[in-house]
Symmetry: C2
Subunit: 231 residues, 2 copies
C-alpha cells in the first residue's frame, strides 16, 4: 500500500503556483485597495489564518509587507489595524500624487499606441456604467485599473511603485467617501486625459491627471472635516 503518499491529490498544483504568502498578500492588498476593510478596523493574524485558511507564517509575512507599504499600521503594542487618515496625511498625499502621477501621465503620453487608447476607453466605459449604476466596488476597481494601465505604459517602475503605495493608503477612505457622497458626484478627468493622449500632448495629459488627483483627494478631505465636525 501507499504509505508513502502523505499528501492527497494536491489539488492540481500548477507548475508556477505562487506561494501562499504571495496569495495572501494579493488578497489583502485588493481588500484594502477596494475598500473591503474599514479605516480603523483591527487586523489579527489568527483572524486571517481562519478566514483565509492559511498558516501563520505566510499571513505574518503578508502583514509585514502591507505595513511596509503603509497599507496597514503597527500600533506600538502588538496590534495592527487599517490606518485612519489625518488631514495632514491627505495634504501630503495630494502633493505626492499630484507631482508623481502627473509626471507618469506625461511620460505615458509620449509612448501612446492605439491599443492603449482602446484599452483605456473600454475601462472608462465600464467605469461610467459603474458610476451610473451606483456600483461602488466597480467604480473603485475600474478607476484603479484605468490609472494602473496608464502608468504601466509610462515605463517607470520606480515611480509606479511609489504611486501604488500611495493608493493603498487612501483606498479604505475612498470607499467611505463613495458611501458618503455617492458615486455620481465623483469627479473624473479621464475624458480630458484621453483627449490629451490621443493628441500626444504630454503637458495636457499631466495637467488633466493633476486635476483628477486633486479633485478626488479633496473629496476625501471634505469627508474628513465633516467627520471631525460630527464627532
Amino acid at each position: 500500500m501507499d504509505l508513502i503518499k502523505k499528501k492527497a491529490p494536491k489539488a492540481a498544483k500548477s507548475p508556477a503556483d505562487p506561494p501562499v504568502h504571495e496569495q495572501v498578500y494579493q488578497t489583502l492588498r485588493a481588500q484594502i485597495l477596494f475598500g473591503e476593510m474599514a479605516p480603523g478596523q483591527p487586523v489579527t493574524i489568527q483572524g486571517l489564518t481562519d478566514s483565509l485558511g492559511a498558516g501563520m507564517t505566510p499571513v505574518r509575512e503578508a502583514i509585514r509587507r502591507l505595513i511596509s507599504d503603509g497599507a496597514l499600521v503597527f500600533q506600538g503594542n502588538r496590534r495592527v489595524s487599517v490606518p485612519v487618515l489625518s488631514a495632514a496625511d491627505v495634504e501630503q498625499l495630494i502633493f505626492a500624487r499630484k507631482t508623481i502621477e502627473s509626471e507618469l501621465a506625461r511620460r505615458a503620453a509620449k509612448h501612446v499606441r492605439p491599443s492603449l487608447i482602446e484599452e483605456l476607453e473600454a475601462i472608462d466605459a465600464a467605469l461610467d456604467s459603474a458610476i451610473a449604476a451606483g456600483d461602488v466596488t466597480g467604480y473603485l476597481r475600474y478607476n484603479y485599473r484605468f490609472h494602473a494601465v496608464l502608468y504601466d505604459h509610462a515605463n517607470a517602475p520606480v515611480m509606479t511603485d511609489l504611486v501604488e503605495r500611495l493608493w493603498l493608503r487612501f483606498g479604505p477612505s475612498l470607499r467611505v467617501v463613495c458611501g458618503r457622497f455617492g458615486t455620481q458626484n465623483l469627479p473624473d478627468r479621464h475624458k480630458e486625459l484621453l483627449q490629451a493622449l490621443r493628441a500626444n500632448d504630454a503637458g495636457a495629459a499631466g495637467e488633466a491627471m493633476a486635476q483628477d488627483v486633486v479633485q478626488g483627494m479633496e473629496m476625501v478631505e471634505a469627508m474628513l472635516s465633516e467627520q471631525a465636525a460630527n464627532a
Copy 2:
C-alpha cells in the same frame, strides 16, 4: 516573592525590548543603507539566521519588509538579492527625489528653530571631517543623518516615508560611487542649505536641496555608464 522568574539571566531584558524581527530589520536596513552590502549580492535566509543568530521566522519577516521597501529584490525563482540599479532607475530616482526632497526642505525651512540649525551644523562638521579623512562609511552615515534630521522637521511623515524608501534603493550603489571616485569629489550643498534655513528662505532651501540631490545622483549615473563601458 519571585517564583515567577522562569528564565535565569535573560541578559537584562529591558521592558520595551523591540521584537527580534524589528532588530533584524533595522540591522539589515543599516547594512544596505550604508553600503555594507554590494549591489547584486545574494541574500539567503539561512545565511542571515546564522550570522545574526535569529530564527527563520523573524528573518523572513524582515526580508519581506525590505523587499517591499525596494531595498532587496525578489528574483522570480526563490532567490533574493541586493538590487543593481539601471540607468532608467537612476533617472526616475532623480525626478522623485528632486521633487519630494526639495518640498521637504521647503517645509522644514518654515519651522526652523535654532536647535535644528545647531544640530545640522554639528552633523555637517562631522561630515566634513569624514570627507577629509576619506572615511566612506562616516560620509554615508552623516550624510544620511543630515537629511533625516532635516526631513524630520518638515512634519510630513508620509512624504518622509517615501523618501526613506528611495534612499534604500541607491544606498548600495552610493557606496560603490564613493569607492570609485573617493569622498573628496562628492558634492554637497549643505552650506547653502543651512544658509537658506537660517534666513527662513523656503525657496532657496528647496533649490539647494534639489541641487544636492541631482549632483549626488549624477555621480551614480556616471559610475553606471562607466561600468557599462568597461563591461
